[in-house]
Protein backbone atom coordinates (compact mmCIF):
# COMPACT_ATOMS: atom_id res chain seq x y z
CA UNK A 1 0.00 0.00 0.00
CA UNK A 2 1.19 3.45 -0.85
CA UNK A 3 -0.21 6.68 0.56
CA UNK A 4 0.40 10.14 -0.81
CA UNK A 5 -0.44 13.41 0.88
CA UNK A 6 -0.99 16.17 -1.65
CA UNK A 7 -0.53 19.65 -0.29
CA UNK A 8 1.48 22.77 -0.84
CA UNK A 9 2.76 22.84 2.72
CA UNK A 10 -0.05 24.66 4.49
CA UNK A 11 -1.17 24.05 8.05
CA UNK A 12 -4.08 21.86 6.93
CA UNK A 13 -1.71 19.62 4.97
CA UNK A 14 0.30 18.96 8.12
CA UNK A 15 -2.90 18.13 9.99
CA UNK A 16 -3.81 15.62 7.29
CA UNK A 17 -0.38 14.05 7.50
CA UNK A 18 -0.65 13.75 11.29
CA UNK A 19 -4.14 12.17 11.04
CA UNK A 20 -2.92 9.72 8.41
CA UNK A 21 0.16 8.70 10.40
CA UNK A 22 -1.98 8.17 13.48
CA UNK A 23 -4.46 6.04 11.52
CA UNK A 24 -1.72 3.95 9.94
CA UNK A 25 -0.06 3.38 13.30
CA UNK A 26 -3.30 2.39 15.01
CA UNK A 27 -4.09 -0.08 12.27
CA UNK A 28 -0.53 -1.39 12.39
CA UNK A 29 -0.17 -1.13 8.63
CA UNK A 30 3.10 -1.29 6.81
CA UNK A 31 2.76 1.52 4.31
CA UNK A 32 4.85 4.18 2.73
CA UNK A 33 3.67 7.75 3.24
CA UNK A 34 4.86 10.18 0.64
CA UNK A 35 4.34 13.95 0.59
CA UNK A 36 3.69 15.65 -2.73
CA UNK A 37 4.24 19.40 -2.56
CA UNK A 38 4.85 20.25 -6.22
CA UNK A 39 1.73 22.18 -7.28
CA UNK A 40 1.76 21.01 -10.89
CA UNK A 41 1.99 17.38 -9.79
CA UNK A 42 -0.89 17.98 -7.36
CA UNK A 43 -3.00 19.44 -10.17
CA UNK A 44 -2.15 16.56 -12.49
CA UNK A 45 -3.84 14.27 -9.95
CA UNK A 46 -7.04 16.16 -10.72
CA UNK A 47 -6.84 17.96 -7.39
CA UNK A 48 -7.22 21.70 -6.81
CA UNK A 49 -8.61 21.70 -3.27
CA UNK A 50 -5.71 20.86 -1.01
CA UNK A 51 -4.95 18.92 1.08
CA UNK A 52 -5.82 15.64 -0.61
CA UNK A 53 -5.19 12.00 0.21
CA UNK A 54 -4.14 9.44 -2.39
CA UNK A 55 -4.23 5.72 -1.58
CA UNK A 56 -2.74 3.34 -4.13
CA UNK A 57 -2.89 5.90 -6.94
CA UNK A 58 -6.48 6.87 -6.31
CA UNK A 59 -7.59 10.20 -4.83
CA UNK A 60 -9.90 9.26 -1.97
CA UNK A 61 -10.36 12.64 -0.33
CA UNK A 62 -9.76 16.26 -1.25
CA UNK A 63 -10.24 19.70 0.24
CA UNK A 64 -10.65 18.88 3.92
CA UNK A 65 -8.87 17.61 6.97
CA UNK A 66 -10.36 14.32 8.15
CA UNK A 67 -10.05 12.89 11.65
CA UNK A 68 -7.78 9.88 12.04
CA UNK A 69 -10.96 7.78 12.38
CA UNK A 70 -12.05 9.01 8.94
CA UNK A 71 -8.68 8.03 7.51
CA UNK A 72 -9.00 4.61 9.16
CA UNK A 73 -12.35 4.17 7.45
CA UNK A 74 -10.85 5.15 4.10
CA UNK A 75 -7.98 2.72 4.62
CA UNK A 76 -10.32 -0.05 5.69
CA UNK A 77 -12.40 0.41 2.57
CA UNK A 78 -9.38 -0.53 0.44
CA UNK A 79 -9.06 -4.15 -0.71
Amino acid sequence: MNIKILGTGCVKCNHLEAATRAAVQELGLDVEIEKVTDPSEIVSWGVMSTPALVIDDEVVMSGKVPSSDDVKRLLAARP
Binding site: S40, W45, G46, M48, S49, T50, V59, K64
Partner: protein, 351 residues
Protein backbone atom coordinates in the same frame (compact mmCIF):
# COMPACT_ATOMS: atom_id res chain seq x y z
CA UNK B 1 0.28 -11.91 16.41
CA UNK B 2 -2.67 -11.88 14.10
CA UNK B 3 -2.83 -9.63 11.09
CA UNK B 4 -4.59 -6.32 11.76
CA UNK B 5 -8.27 -6.49 11.01
CA UNK B 6 -9.68 -3.68 8.94
CA UNK B 7 -13.28 -3.41 10.03
CA UNK B 8 -15.07 -0.42 8.59
CA UNK B 9 -16.63 1.60 11.38
CA UNK B 10 -19.25 3.70 9.64
CA UNK B 11 -21.07 6.00 12.03
CA UNK B 12 -24.80 5.40 11.94
CA UNK B 13 -26.65 8.06 9.95
CA UNK B 14 -28.65 10.31 12.21
CA UNK B 15 -32.38 10.53 12.06
CA UNK B 16 -33.87 13.71 10.66
CA UNK B 17 -35.05 14.79 14.12
CA UNK B 18 -31.69 14.16 15.76
CA UNK B 19 -29.93 16.05 12.99
CA UNK B 20 -32.08 19.16 12.86
CA UNK B 21 -33.20 19.69 16.45
CA UNK B 22 -29.75 20.93 17.59
CA UNK B 23 -29.72 23.28 14.59
CA UNK B 24 -33.17 24.63 15.50
CA UNK B 25 -32.12 25.12 19.13
CA UNK B 26 -28.95 26.83 17.93
CA UNK B 27 -30.91 29.26 15.75
CA UNK B 28 -33.21 30.09 18.66
CA UNK B 29 -30.33 30.63 21.09
CA UNK B 30 -28.46 32.74 18.55
CA UNK B 31 -31.50 34.92 17.87
CA UNK B 32 -32.16 35.43 21.58
CA UNK B 33 -28.55 36.30 22.35
CA UNK B 34 -28.38 38.75 19.46
CA UNK B 35 -31.45 40.59 20.72
CA UNK B 36 -30.46 40.45 24.38
CA UNK B 37 -26.94 41.75 23.70
CA UNK B 38 -27.65 45.47 24.15
CA UNK B 39 -30.07 45.25 27.11
CA UNK B 40 -27.77 42.74 28.79
CA UNK B 41 -24.64 44.92 28.67
CA UNK B 42 -26.70 48.01 29.59
CA UNK B 43 -27.85 46.13 32.66
CA UNK B 44 -24.41 44.80 33.57
CA UNK B 45 -22.38 47.95 33.00
CA UNK B 46 -24.77 50.73 33.96
CA UNK B 47 -27.13 49.10 36.46
CA UNK B 48 -24.96 46.50 38.15
CA UNK B 49 -21.33 47.67 37.92
CA UNK B 50 -22.46 51.25 38.23
CA UNK B 51 -20.65 52.86 35.30
CA UNK B 52 -22.21 56.08 34.10
CA UNK B 53 -23.79 56.06 30.65
CA UNK B 54 -22.32 58.93 28.65
CA UNK B 55 -19.07 59.00 30.60
CA UNK B 56 -15.86 58.23 28.71
CA UNK B 57 -14.92 55.18 30.71
CA UNK B 58 -18.47 53.87 30.87
CA UNK B 59 -19.10 54.21 27.17
CA UNK B 60 -15.75 52.70 26.20
CA UNK B 61 -16.16 49.63 28.37
CA UNK B 62 -19.78 49.18 27.36
CA UNK B 63 -18.86 49.56 23.68
CA UNK B 64 -16.08 46.98 24.02
CA UNK B 65 -18.28 44.23 25.48
CA UNK B 66 -21.31 45.00 23.35
CA UNK B 67 -19.32 45.07 20.12
CA UNK B 68 -17.27 41.98 20.79
CA UNK B 69 -20.43 39.99 21.56
CA UNK B 70 -22.18 41.31 18.48
CA UNK B 71 -19.31 40.51 16.12
CA UNK B 72 -18.71 37.08 17.63
CA UNK B 73 -22.41 36.26 17.18
CA UNK B 74 -22.51 37.58 13.62
CA UNK B 75 -19.35 35.66 12.69
CA UNK B 76 -20.75 32.45 14.16
CA UNK B 77 -24.10 32.73 12.41
CA UNK B 78 -22.85 33.88 9.03
CA UNK B 79 -19.90 31.49 8.78
CA UNK B 80 -22.17 28.58 9.73
CA UNK B 81 -24.72 29.46 7.08
CA UNK B 82 -22.18 30.35 4.40
CA UNK B 83 -20.22 27.13 4.92
CA UNK B 84 -23.37 25.05 4.47
CA UNK B 85 -24.29 26.92 1.28
CA UNK B 86 -20.76 26.75 -0.06
CA UNK B 87 -20.52 23.02 0.58
CA UNK B 88 -22.63 22.66 -2.57
CA UNK B 89 -19.91 24.43 -4.59
CA UNK B 90 -16.26 23.67 -5.20
CA UNK B 91 -13.40 25.08 -7.24
CA UNK B 92 -13.70 21.99 -9.44
CA UNK B 93 -17.30 22.82 -10.28
CA UNK B 94 -16.42 26.48 -10.81
CA UNK B 95 -13.68 25.49 -13.23
CA UNK B 96 -16.16 23.37 -15.19
CA UNK B 97 -18.52 26.35 -15.33
CA UNK B 98 -15.76 28.69 -16.51
CA UNK B 99 -14.17 26.31 -19.03
CA UNK B 100 -14.42 27.66 -22.56
CA UNK B 101 -15.72 31.06 -21.44
CA UNK B 102 -14.38 34.08 -23.21
CA UNK B 103 -13.06 37.31 -21.79
CA UNK B 104 -15.79 39.70 -20.75
CA UNK B 105 -18.77 37.61 -19.68
CA UNK B 106 -16.28 35.04 -18.39
CA UNK B 107 -14.80 37.67 -16.08
CA UNK B 108 -18.23 38.59 -14.72
CA UNK B 109 -18.98 34.91 -14.08
CA UNK B 110 -15.56 34.35 -12.51
CA UNK B 111 -15.98 37.29 -10.12
CA UNK B 112 -19.44 36.09 -9.08
CA UNK B 113 -18.28 32.51 -8.65
CA UNK B 114 -15.32 33.79 -6.64
CA UNK B 115 -17.79 34.91 -3.98
CA UNK B 116 -19.73 31.65 -3.67
CA UNK B 117 -16.94 29.10 -4.14
CA UNK B 118 -15.21 27.77 -1.03
CA UNK B 119 -11.59 28.76 -1.42
CA UNK B 120 -8.60 28.80 0.88
CA UNK B 121 -5.79 31.10 -0.14
CA UNK B 122 -3.41 28.21 0.59
CA UNK B 123 -4.93 26.51 -2.50
CA UNK B 124 -4.33 29.55 -4.72
CA UNK B 125 -1.45 27.95 -6.62
CA UNK B 126 -3.09 24.59 -7.46
CA UNK B 127 -6.26 26.48 -8.40
CA UNK B 128 -4.35 28.83 -10.69
CA UNK B 129 -2.55 25.95 -12.43
CA UNK B 130 -5.72 23.89 -12.58
CA UNK B 131 -7.74 26.69 -14.18
CA UNK B 132 -5.09 27.74 -16.72
CA UNK B 133 -4.14 24.17 -17.64
CA UNK B 134 -7.82 23.39 -18.24
CA UNK B 135 -8.07 26.28 -20.67
CA UNK B 136 -9.70 28.99 -18.55
CA UNK B 137 -8.27 32.28 -19.91
CA UNK B 138 -5.66 34.00 -17.73
CA UNK B 139 -7.74 37.15 -17.20
CA UNK B 140 -10.81 35.11 -16.20
CA UNK B 141 -8.72 33.09 -13.74
CA UNK B 142 -7.37 36.31 -12.22
CA UNK B 143 -10.91 37.74 -11.85
CA UNK B 144 -11.70 34.67 -9.75
CA UNK B 145 -8.53 35.03 -7.67
CA UNK B 146 -9.22 38.72 -6.99
CA UNK B 147 -12.92 38.35 -6.07
CA UNK B 148 -12.50 35.31 -3.87
CA UNK B 149 -10.51 36.85 -0.99
CA UNK B 150 -11.92 40.37 -1.43
CA UNK B 151 -15.55 39.38 -0.92
CA UNK B 152 -15.14 36.91 1.90
CA UNK B 153 -17.52 36.21 4.76
CA UNK B 154 -15.38 37.68 7.55
CA UNK B 155 -15.04 40.98 5.70
CA UNK B 156 -18.77 41.04 4.96
CA UNK B 157 -19.71 40.30 8.58
CA UNK B 158 -17.41 42.98 9.93
CA UNK B 159 -18.65 45.57 7.47
CA UNK B 160 -22.26 44.70 8.16
CA UNK B 161 -21.81 44.63 11.92
CA UNK B 162 -19.91 47.90 12.09
CA UNK B 163 -21.22 49.97 9.17
CA UNK B 164 -24.62 48.53 8.22
CA UNK B 165 -25.99 46.94 5.09
CA UNK B 166 -25.67 49.89 2.70
CA UNK B 167 -21.91 50.12 3.01
CA UNK B 168 -21.70 46.32 2.82
CA UNK B 169 -23.71 46.29 -0.41
CA UNK B 170 -21.49 49.03 -1.89
CA UNK B 171 -18.42 47.07 -0.89
CA UNK B 172 -19.69 43.87 -2.53
CA UNK B 173 -20.80 45.71 -5.67
CA UNK B 174 -17.55 47.55 -6.16
CA UNK B 175 -15.53 44.47 -5.18
CA UNK B 176 -17.22 42.55 -8.00
CA UNK B 177 -16.66 45.45 -10.39
CA UNK B 178 -12.95 45.70 -9.54
CA UNK B 179 -12.45 41.94 -9.89
CA UNK B 180 -14.23 41.90 -13.25
CA UNK B 181 -12.54 44.96 -14.74
CA UNK B 182 -9.06 44.11 -13.39
CA UNK B 183 -9.37 40.61 -14.92
CA UNK B 184 -10.43 42.05 -18.27
CA UNK B 185 -7.56 44.57 -18.27
CA UNK B 186 -5.00 41.92 -17.30
CA UNK B 187 -6.44 39.59 -19.94
CA UNK B 188 -6.17 42.26 -22.65
CA UNK B 189 -2.50 42.84 -21.84
CA UNK B 190 -1.67 39.29 -23.02
CA UNK B 191 0.58 38.53 -20.10
CA UNK B 192 0.88 34.78 -20.73
CA UNK B 193 4.63 35.26 -21.25
CA UNK B 194 4.89 36.33 -17.61
CA UNK B 195 3.38 33.09 -16.36
CA UNK B 196 5.89 30.37 -15.44
CA UNK B 197 5.99 28.07 -18.51
CA UNK B 198 5.44 24.84 -16.54
CA UNK B 199 1.85 25.96 -15.87
CA UNK B 200 0.95 25.52 -19.53
CA UNK B 201 2.79 22.21 -19.68
CA UNK B 202 0.87 20.70 -16.77
CA UNK B 203 -1.15 17.75 -18.00
CA UNK B 204 -4.40 16.89 -16.29
CA UNK B 205 -4.24 13.12 -16.21
CA UNK B 206 -6.12 12.21 -13.03
CA UNK B 207 -9.87 12.00 -12.83
CA UNK B 208 -11.20 15.27 -11.40
CA UNK B 209 -12.18 14.90 -7.76
CA UNK B 210 -15.03 17.16 -6.74
CA UNK B 211 -15.10 17.47 -2.93
CA UNK B 212 -18.64 18.88 -3.01
CA UNK B 213 -20.06 15.60 -4.27
CA UNK B 214 -21.23 12.78 -2.04
CA UNK B 215 -21.61 14.89 1.10
CA UNK B 216 -24.45 14.08 3.45
CA UNK B 217 -26.30 16.70 5.49
CA UNK B 218 -24.44 15.45 8.55
CA UNK B 219 -21.17 16.14 6.72
CA UNK B 220 -22.25 19.64 5.74
CA UNK B 221 -23.41 20.54 9.26
CA UNK B 222 -20.19 19.18 10.72
CA UNK B 223 -18.09 21.15 8.22
CA UNK B 224 -20.00 24.29 9.19
CA UNK B 225 -19.34 23.71 12.91
CA UNK B 226 -15.64 23.10 12.28
CA UNK B 227 -15.33 26.19 10.11
CA UNK B 228 -16.93 28.41 12.79
CA UNK B 229 -14.49 27.11 15.39
CA UNK B 230 -11.50 27.43 13.05
CA UNK B 231 -12.24 31.02 12.05
CA UNK B 232 -13.16 32.23 15.54
CA UNK B 233 -9.97 30.64 16.87
CA UNK B 234 -7.98 32.45 14.21
CA UNK B 235 -9.49 35.92 14.55
CA UNK B 236 -10.31 36.34 18.24
CA UNK B 237 -6.97 37.85 19.35
CA UNK B 238 -7.16 40.42 16.54
CA UNK B 239 -10.78 41.16 17.36
CA UNK B 240 -10.02 41.72 21.06
CA UNK B 241 -7.14 44.10 20.33
CA UNK B 242 -8.95 45.88 17.49
CA UNK B 243 -12.15 46.41 19.41
CA UNK B 244 -10.15 47.38 22.49
CA UNK B 245 -8.32 50.16 20.67
CA UNK B 246 -11.54 51.07 18.88
CA UNK B 247 -13.29 51.42 22.23
CA UNK B 248 -10.52 53.68 23.53
CA UNK B 249 -10.79 55.88 20.44
CA UNK B 250 -14.56 56.03 20.86
CA UNK B 251 -14.14 57.26 24.40
CA UNK B 252 -11.12 59.54 24.18
CA UNK B 253 -10.26 60.76 20.68
CA UNK B 254 -11.60 64.25 20.04
CA UNK B 255 -14.77 64.38 17.96
CA UNK B 256 -14.22 65.09 14.26
CA UNK B 257 -10.44 64.93 14.53
CA UNK B 258 -10.23 63.16 11.17
CA UNK B 259 -12.82 65.40 9.58
CA UNK B 260 -10.39 68.24 10.25
CA UNK B 261 -7.10 66.46 9.55
CA UNK B 262 -7.62 63.51 7.20
CA UNK B 263 -9.86 64.56 4.37
CA UNK B 264 -7.07 65.48 1.93
CA UNK B 265 -6.73 63.54 -1.35
CA UNK B 266 -3.80 61.63 0.14
CA UNK B 267 -6.08 59.80 2.57
CA UNK B 268 -7.03 57.10 0.07
CA UNK B 269 -3.51 56.26 -1.21
CA UNK B 270 -2.25 56.23 2.37
CA UNK B 271 -5.03 53.80 3.32
CA UNK B 272 -4.03 51.48 0.44
CA UNK B 273 -0.32 51.63 1.31
CA UNK B 274 -1.04 50.75 4.94
CA UNK B 275 -3.72 48.22 4.01
CA UNK B 276 -1.83 45.98 1.58
CA UNK B 277 0.64 44.44 4.07
CA UNK B 278 -2.04 43.96 6.74
CA UNK B 279 -3.73 40.74 5.73
CA UNK B 280 -4.54 38.50 8.65
CA UNK B 281 -5.38 41.50 10.78
CA UNK B 282 -8.56 42.41 8.89
CA UNK B 283 -10.65 41.32 11.87
CA UNK B 284 -8.68 43.52 14.21
CA UNK B 285 -8.23 46.46 11.93
CA UNK B 286 -11.83 47.06 10.98
CA UNK B 287 -13.20 47.86 14.46
CA UNK B 288 -10.38 50.39 14.65
CA UNK B 289 -11.33 51.91 11.32
CA UNK B 290 -14.96 52.07 12.39
CA UNK B 291 -13.93 54.12 15.40
CA UNK B 292 -11.85 56.37 13.13
CA UNK B 293 -14.82 56.76 10.78
CA UNK B 294 -16.88 57.78 13.77
CA UNK B 295 -14.35 60.57 14.34
CA UNK B 296 -14.69 61.78 10.77
CA UNK B 297 -12.49 59.53 8.58
CA UNK B 298 -14.22 59.64 5.15
CA UNK B 299 -16.10 56.55 3.94
CA UNK B 300 -14.14 56.21 0.67
CA UNK B 301 -10.92 56.01 2.65
CA UNK B 302 -12.49 53.38 4.92
CA UNK B 303 -13.64 51.26 1.96
CA UNK B 304 -10.29 51.56 0.17
CA UNK B 305 -8.51 50.53 3.32
CA UNK B 306 -10.76 47.51 3.86
CA UNK B 307 -10.42 46.40 0.24
CA UNK B 308 -6.64 46.63 0.21
CA UNK B 309 -6.35 44.76 3.51
CA UNK B 310 -8.44 41.88 2.23
CA UNK B 311 -7.82 41.74 -1.52
CA UNK B 312 -4.06 42.18 -1.73
CA UNK B 313 -2.02 40.23 0.75
CA UNK B 314 1.70 39.63 0.95
CA UNK B 315 1.41 35.91 1.81
CA UNK B 316 -0.76 35.28 -1.24
CA UNK B 317 1.65 37.16 -3.51
CA UNK B 318 4.53 35.07 -2.17
CA UNK B 319 2.53 31.91 -2.97
CA UNK B 320 1.58 33.13 -6.45
CA UNK B 321 5.26 33.86 -7.16
CA UNK B 322 5.59 30.10 -7.79
CA UNK B 323 3.44 30.45 -10.91
CA UNK B 324 3.63 34.13 -11.87
CA UNK B 325 6.75 36.06 -12.77
CA UNK B 326 7.43 39.19 -10.64
CA UNK B 327 6.39 41.48 -13.51
CA UNK B 328 2.93 39.89 -13.64
CA UNK B 329 2.57 40.05 -9.87
CA UNK B 330 3.51 43.74 -9.93
CA UNK B 331 1.01 44.39 -12.73
CA UNK B 332 -1.68 42.44 -10.87
CA UNK B 333 -1.10 44.45 -7.69
CA UNK B 334 -0.94 47.67 -9.70
CA UNK B 335 -4.22 47.08 -11.53
CA UNK B 336 -6.13 45.97 -8.43
CA UNK B 337 -4.69 48.79 -6.31
CA UNK B 338 -5.70 51.31 -9.01
CA UNK B 339 -9.24 49.94 -8.90
CA UNK B 340 -9.30 50.31 -5.14
CA UNK B 341 -7.90 53.85 -5.35
CA UNK B 342 -10.56 54.86 -7.86
CA UNK B 343 -13.29 53.37 -5.67
CA UNK B 344 -11.97 55.28 -2.67
CA UNK B 345 -11.79 58.59 -4.53
CA UNK B 346 -15.24 58.05 -6.01
CA UNK B 347 -16.84 57.45 -2.63
CA UNK B 348 -15.06 60.36 -1.00
CA UNK B 349 -16.39 62.56 -3.78
CA UNK B 350 -19.95 61.23 -3.70
CA UNK B 351 -20.73 60.23 -0.10
Amino acid sequence: MSAPTLTPVEPAPRTTLRRWSPVAVGVLVWWSLYHLNLPFWNWVMFDTVGLTAGSRLGDSIHFFFYDITKIALLLTGVIYLVTILRSFMSVERTRALLGGRRQGLGNVAAAGLGVVTPFCSCSAVPVFIGFVAAGVPLGVTLSFLIASPMINEVAIVLLFGLFGWKITALYIGFGLLIATVAGIVLGKLNLERWVEPFVFETKLRGKVVDPSLGLSWDDRLQMAREEVVAILRKVWPYLLVGIGIGAAIHGWAPQDWFARHATGWWGVPLAVVIGVPLYSNAAGVLPLVEALHDKGLPMGTVLAFMMSVVALSMPEMVLLRRVLKPKLIATYVGVVASGILLTGFLFNAVL
